[in-house]
Symmetry: D2
Subunit: 336 residues, 4 copies
C-alpha cells in the first residue's frame, strides 16, 4: 500500500501518521520525493482501512497495491480450485449445468423436470424453496416443504441439488442440500457468510446487483476466511441504466475474475436478462468466454403450455440447448 503525503506537510505530522499506521502491525518505507513524500507500507495490509488513512488531513491519496483478499486470491493459490460436489467436479476443465425451476411448486413438477434435465445431461438440479421477492404480496416459495420435494427429486434422479438460503436460522434445514446458494441480495449478508464459512459444504455465491468484482471476491473471502474454501462464484447480471434487459450480464467479469482468483465461476443468463429467448445465445457465449458452467431456468406448465410455449424454456427446449452446449464444451476441450 502506498500513501502519498500532501506537499508542504510538516515533518512532525508525517511522523505522527507513520506511528498511527505502524501501530497496525506493518512497517513503513519512507521516501521523500521532490513534490510529495511517499510512505510504502510493507507487511500484511489486508487489515489496513484505506478509507481511514485517506481521511487524514495530510494524506493526498492512498493506493492499494495488493488486493485486500488472500484466500480467494490467485496470487497465493495459482492453481484452479475444483469443487467436488457428490462426485461431480465444478471448475476448470468441466462445464457444469445447473438447471431446474425458479420455484419448486409440487412434487410432480420438480420430479418431472428433474427427470427431463437429467436425461438432457444437466449436472445439478436447482430449485427455489425460499424465494426473495421484491413484493411482500408475491409468492414466497414453499419453504421447508420445497427442500423436501427437491430431495425427492434427487432420489428419483441422482442429481445433486442446489437451493437458496435466505437466513441463518434456515441453515439446519440445508444440511442435506448438496450446494447452498447465496442470492444476490444476500451477497453482503456478512453474518450469514461467516456461518457458511464454518460448514463443510459447497457454497454457490451470486454476485450482488451493484457489487464490484472486488466486493464479490471479498464476500467469497468472508466464507473462506472461516475455513470453507468450496466457493463457486456466479455472475447473474448487474444493475445499469439499460432497461431492455432486467440486468446487464457482465460477461467480461469471467476473464477478469479468472485472473484474480482461482475459484470456479458460472453464469446465470436467465436472471441476467429476464428474457428466456436470450438464454441459448448467452449460454454459448458463457462457455466461449471461459465460464465453468451455466445456470438455466427450466419450466413445465402443461396447462399454460400453449401460451408460454415459445418464450419460456421447457424441458424440450432445454434439451435442444444442451445439444448445442455440449458441442461448445467439446470444442473448448471441456468435460460436460
Amino acid at each position: 500500500m502506498i500513501v502519498v503525503v500532501k506537499p508542504n506537510t510538516r515533518e512532525e505530522d508525517i511522523q505522527r501518521l507513520i506511528k498511527v499506521i505502524e501501530a497496525q502491525g506493518v512497517k513503513i518505507h519512507y521516501s521523500k520525493g521532490v513534490d510529495h513524500t511517499i510512505l510504502g507500507i510493507v507487511g500484511d495490509t489486508t487489515l489496513i482501512d484505506t478509507d481511514k488513512i485517506r481521511s487524514n488531513q495530510i494524506v493526498k491519496d492512498v493506493l492499494r497495491v495488493q488486493e485486500p483478499y488472500k484466500k480467494a486470491n490467485r496470487l497465493f493459490h495459482p492453481e484452479d480450485t475444483i469443487v467436488d460436489v457428490a462426485g461431480r467436479k465444478v471448475g476448470e476443465g468441466t462445464i457444469s449445468i445447473f438447471a431446474g425451476p425458479c420455484s419448486v411448486e409440487s412434487e410432480d413438477q420438480v420430479v418431472s423436470i428433474a427427470k427431463s434435465i437429467k436425461a438432457s445431461g444437466a449436472t445439478f438440479l436447482r430449485g427455489g424453496a425460499f424465494k426473495p421477492r421484491t413484493s411482500p404480496y408475491a409468492f414466497q416459495g414453499l419453504g421447508y416443504e420445497g427442500l423436501d420435494l427437491l430431495k425427492i427429486a434427487r432420489k428419483a434422479t441422482g442429481l445433486p441439488i442446489v437451493s437458496e438460503i435466505m437466513s441463518l436460522e434456515q441453515l439446519p434445514a440445508f444440511e442435506d442440500v448438496d450446494i447452498i446458494q447465496v442470492g444476490a441480495r444476500n451477497m453482503q449478508n456478512f453474518i450469514l457468510l461467516k456461518e457458511l464459512g464454518k460448514i463443510d459444504k459447497p457454497i454457490l455465491l451470486k454476485r450482488g446487483m451493484s457489487a464490484t468484482m472486488k466486493e464479490f471476491l471479498m464476500s467469497a473471502e468472508y466464507i473462506m476466511k472461516e475455513g470453507n474454501d468450496k466457493v463457486i462464484l456466479c455472475e447473474r447480471g448487474i444493475r445499469t441504466f439499460e432497461t431492455a434487459t432486467r440486468n446487464t450480464l457482465d460477461i467480461s467479469c469471467i476473464p477478469v475474475l479468472k485472473r484474480q482468483s482461482h475459484l470456479p465461476i458460472i453464469i446465470d443468463p436467465s436472471h441476467a436478462t429476464g428474457l428466456s429467448w436470450t438464454v441459448e445465445a448467452l449460454s454459448k457465449a458463457a462457455i466461449a468466454v471461459g465460464a465453468d458452467g451455466v445456470m438455466i431456468e427450466v419450466h413445465n406448465n402443461p396447462e399454460e403450455a400453449l401460451c408460454d410455449g415459445e418464450q419460456s424454456i421447457t424441458p424440450e427446449r432445454f434439451d435442444k440447448i444442451m445439444t448445442t452446449l455440449k458441442k461448445y464444451a467439446e470444442f473448448e476441450n471441456k468435460v460436460m
Copy 2:
C-alpha cells in the same frame, strides 16, 4: 393494471389468458382496439406478478397503473406519518438530527460525543455496534458491548439511541434500543424485515445502494404489512459510475418519495459522499429540499486531532453546523 395483447392473437388464446389472470382474484375489463386488444385488470393487483404475465407469448406489454405497495402508499394514507420515538416526533414539521460516531469504540468516546451533540441540539444518538464491513479483516464493531455503551450514553444524556441490526438473532439485544436501523446491505433481507414488522418499535430503513425508489418502498411495505407502521426512510446515496464521491446522493428522491408515500424520510450525507467536508452543504440542501432530518457522523479522536481536524466532523465542527441548520429549519417553519 393494463395488459396489451399482441396483434392478430386468436380469441381462444386471449380467453385462456383471461382465465389465468382472473384465477388470481381480479376482474378483467376487455377492450378490443383497432391494433391491439387491451385487458384492464380491476381489483387488488398488488398480488399480481407482472413479470409472469409479461412472459406470456401473446402479451405485448404490461403497464402497472397502481403502485404495488399499499400500506406505504400516500394514496391510501394521505396524511403524513409522524413516528413517535420516546416522546420525540420524526416526520413532517420537525427536523430530526441523528448524530454520533460511525462505530462505538469505548464508553469514554460515546458518552463524550453524546454529551457534546446533546448540547448542540441533536435529537438522537446514533452509533454502530455491529458493523457491516466489505472486508472480513476489518473491524466488525464491538457487538453487544457496543449496545451496552450506547445505553450508558443514553442514560447520561437522555438522548434516544439508534443502532444497526445485522441479523435476526441479534433482535433480542435490540429490545431496549429506541430505533432499530436496517442498513443499505440489508434493505432486501426480507426475512429480517418481516420480523421487524412484528415488533412495536421504530425502524430506520436505509435505501439499498442499487434500490429503486419503488423497491425502497416495497421494503418498507414488508415491515408495514406485518403491522409495524413506524418506518423512517433514509436516503444514503446510490451507486453510479461517478467515483469522486463514494456514492451519489439522490436528493430528488425526497420530493418524489414524499409524493408517493406518507412516511418520514431523512438524508445521510456522510455515507453518501464519504467526504466530510461536503456534509454541511448537503445537510442544508436536505432541509431545503424537504427532508425530515439528517444523519451526521461525529468523531472525536483527541490523539489524532491535529491530523484529522479539518476533514472529519468533530463535536466543535458539528456544533457550528447545527447553528446553521437551526436557521434553515426555522426558515422552513420547522421545529428542530
Copy 3:
C-alpha cells in the same frame, strides 16, 4: 400507444386531450374502464412525443406499444440487412474482422500492421486519424495525414479502410474512406448523423457510453431516415459502477438488437474492457452470441516490444487469435 387517464377525470378534459392528440394526425380508440379511461392511439405514433402527453395533468401514464423507429425496425423489414463494402459483406452469415491500430502513427506502422492482419485474415483495416481524447493535452491523432496513410495501406493490401469522423466539416476528406465510423461520443451528434444519412457510404455507428439500446437504434434511424440504410452497429461497452474494466461490455444487446432490428452488429472488446488480455475470450463470446464481427486493436511497437509484449495485441498475437476465431466462425456455419 396507450394513454391511461387518471380516475375521476371530467369528460370535457378527456375530450380536450383527445383533440390535442388527434391534431397530430392519429386516431383515438376510446375505452372507458371501471377505474381508468384508456385512449388507444391508432396510426403512425412515431411522431408523437410521449413526454409531452405524460406531462398532461389528467394523464396517469403512457405506454408506447410500437417502437418509435421504423427504418431500423425488424418489424417492417424482417430480413437481415447485409451491408456491402467494396465487395465484402457485413451482416448475418459472415464474421467480419475490423483490425488495426487505435491511432495511425506513421506509414511504416500502418502499412506493416495492414500487411500482417491481411495475412491473418482480417476483413477491414481500421485506424484512427482524428482521435477524441478526454484531455486537450493528449495526442489528437494525425488528422488528414492519418487518412492519407490509411489509403496507402489500403493500396498496399487491398483491405477496405474504416476511420472515425469527429465533425461535419471533415466529411469531404472521408469521400474515399470505405466505412465512416461514428464514435461513442458522437452517437447523439444528430446534425452529423443527418448528414451521414445523405451520403451513400457504410456507417459504423458505435453505441454511446450511456445510450440505451432504444436510443442506439434511434440514432441509426437518424441516418436511415435521410436515405442511407448502410448502417453497421457496434457495441463497445457501457458505463457502469464497475471499475475493474474501463466499461462494461453489454453482450446481451446482441440477441436483443438482432430481434428488434435487421441491422448488422459487431462487438469491440478492446474498448469495452481496456484490457487487451480479455480480447480473445470476449471475441470468441462475440461470435458465439451471434455478433456479425469484432473490432480488434492491433499494435506494433518494436522499440517497446519487450515491455509491452504480453499485454498488448501484436500482429503475432492477433494471428493466433484469428486462428481460434476462424474455428468459431466455422462452428457457427459462418463465412470468415
Copy 4:
C-alpha cells in the same frame, strides 16, 4: 504521478521504462521499496497518458497525484471566477436565474414569457432554437428563426439570451447570442469545444449524462486551453438505474467541483428529474448547497392551460418560486 513497478522486475526493464517516460519531458524520482519499486514523476504530467503507462507489462499501477486539468483547476487559480455577461455577474456571491421555454415556438410565446420572467426577477432568458431530440421524427426546433425570436425578446426586455449550439457551422449565427450553451450530448464534442475556446463569449457547458466530474472539468479545459476562460458549468442530472426520475441530479457535485475548480456552476433541475413539481424543492436545495444559480423551464400554453396547469411551470408558478428563491438567496447573503 506515481508509477508502481511490479515486484521482481529486472533493473534493465525499469531503466527502459524510465527512458520512455522521461522522453515525455518529465523527471523521475526513483525509490526502491521492499516489495515494489516506485517511480515518482516530477514535472508537468498533464501531457502523460496514464493508460499507456498502465498497459506496460512491468507496471503494477499508476496513481495520478495531480489533476490532469490546469486552467480549470482551483489549485492554480484559487479565487472564484466571476463571468461577466452583458453587465450581469455569474459566479460566487450571486444567484443567477436562467429561465424560459424549452423550445422557442413563436414571437408571442417567447416575448410573453420573457416579459413575465423579467418581472419575476430572472437574470437570463434561455430558449432552445436548435433542439437535440432522440427521435428524428420529433420537433427539432425553429433553428435560425428561433435565434431571431430570442433577440426580439431580448430587445423587448433587456434580458441577455442563452441558447444551445449543436454544431460548428451554426457558430456564426450565435455571434449576437449572449451565452452559448453546449448541451449534455455535446459535452465531449471536442472539435466544437476547441472552436468555442477561440471566441470571446461566455459558454454554458452542461455535464454529459455519463460524464464524471473529472471529465466535465476536462471538457471545460478544452475551451479554456484555447483562451476562453468564460466557462459556466451546469449540472443537469446523470444517468443511473433509477427510473422514477428522468436522470439523477448529482447535487454533491456542487461542493466537490467548487473545491476542485474556480468556475461558476449552476443546476438545471427541470432536465434532471423531468418532473416539474420537483423544481421548486430542488431549486431551493441548489441555493442551499452553494450553486451559483438555477435554470428553470417556464411554459405558457394558454390553450392547454387547464390541462397543464398544475404540472408545468407557468409564469405565475415561476413567480411564486422566485419569491421563495429570493428569500433563500438573501439568507445565504447572495445577490439575486
